[in-house]
Symmetry: C2
Amino acid sequence: MGKATINAAVYDAHGNPAEVLQVRTQPWPICAPDEVIVAIRAAPINPADLNQIEGKYPIRPVLPATPGFEGAGVVVETGREAGHVAEGTHVILPHNVGTWREVCAVKATDLVVVPSEIDLVQAAMIKINPLTAWRLLHDYVKMKPGDWVIQNAANSAAGRAVIQIARELGLNTVNIVRRAEVVEELRVQGGDVVLIDGEALRDNVKESTGGAPIRLGLNAVGGDSALRLMNCLAPGGTLVTYGAMSLQPLKVPNGLLIFKDLRFRGIWINKWYDDASPGERMEAFNQIFEMARRGLLKTNVEKAYLMSELKAAVEHAAQGKRDGKIILQFD
Amino acid sequence: MGKATINAAVYDAHGNPAEVLQVRTQPWPICAPDEVIVAIRAAPINPADLNQIEGKYPIRPVLPATPGFEGAGVVVETGREAGHVAEGTHVILPHNVGTWREVCAVKATDLVVVPSEIDLVQAAMIKINPLTAWRLLHDYVKMKPGDWVIQNAANSAAGRAVIQIARELGLNTVNIVRRAEVVEELRVQGGDVVLIDGEALRDNVKESTGGAPIRLGLNAVGGDSALRLMNCLAPGGTLVTYGAMSLQPLKVPNGLLIFKDLRFRGIWINKWYDDASPGERMEAFNQIFEMARRGLLKTNVEKAYLMSELKAAVEHAAQGKRDGKIILQFD
């Protein structure tokens, strides 16, 4: 490729992303024999990215660092041992390359090849939220068609993926949201029951489900919202935590553990990704791609920013009330 | 048997045990064909008994009721279809007969036969605490010799049973207590590490174990004590709650679920007992009896009371600082 340099987001110290991030020019990366060079097309700004820049993430990078756990692009150059990934192939990047840059070198075996008919902006947002939703519905409770699952933060990207994947699996969902405006939209996306959170939640859930036992709860909020989910679960049920929007810890009454036999787990999708074999990853991705081909699992984009608008992009991403993801788009 | 009547503890309404309990005379029970009559020799006063009298237990009995989840005695009469349990057999009673009475009728198939060389007072205290300890060490984390387990309330009857069973299984124990006076005693009973709870617990545990990973934590306290246990567990570890002495809920930081992959469970031993097959029960009891024969798993008795001293007995049992169980003894 002709260009001699690329642009990359970089921070030298942890802190407020809008203050510590800069765009710097870097040399075009060198392609090792087992690597390919990927021209990145899109990278979302996820909460975990902001946490890592702030220094609040459990893994701290060597500084200066380029953020970005997710992204997708096109292979533009291949090392001599990486010829099985042809130039022009669409790929999802692993979470350790720093995707907020125009171009990166990456080991060919760390890439996930994406069918070319899937939009690359959508592909850039598959590895965290739809994959988390997939694992949440597969790894914790053995579910069968007709079973119920309950989730809070149902209007989030992961929550919407849960609704659509649950539908594919024949599961029924109870979806808890905070705002009345999104109820109808989630119903249209396939949410069987959509309810507004509040003190009467347990009774409302019971009424809406006909008292069906709910053995799986998905929690991205914590605090009181998580407690209300616990009280909706059947004895022996499992609550899986994958986010903490309220920043409040879970409060678990002892009786729910001892007498109700509730079980509590958590998932860190990047850890799952690292521990999984390529075969295990592709088993999930292939089914997610198959849904994406049918127009499902589309993540809403609130706004796409260019690298030159980086500060505005991270400020927008840090705002609570959005109707979709903030993404960085390159080209 | 000659007597026409028996004495039984009875309460007509939930409330403070010392106020609502009375001793009443009842007719000698009638023995159905599949039942035996047991002359009860000893029944402990457990926290769960007091909770049920107070109306704070998840299952409420039909009133008036006789309390007592545990007890042991001697078969004195057998129904014609229960001849396989001979008169004179020592037995442990199930948890649904109300053991705070001199004599009861019980289905022969619900009894656990106890080897006659085991003291009946000790036998009366096996079905809750040693059995809980047994299940805690077998049902939640696959352990192998040399592995570590950590527990709070290590000086309780269940905690001491954990120490001794863990030793039999070749496991190492970290035992957390509140009082310095009991440290030496628990060491003598086989506790590998015995520490006093406090803010520095995590560092103290690390130093005492050489930083060995601890994948199983046993919690009978809740609240801050449970949180300190969580912080001592290795990634992927499990905290099992079986008691709630502090009356405080568990507070679980989201990061311990998401990033540290801690798992939270609870156990209700009476539920386990009901769900288990006779074979599953006896598999545990036989090994516990084998230990008891060697003088292990002895529960300290602080004081034995007669039925005529019932009020004093429950008042004593409700006191926090004791060196052993309060039991009711009959004869």
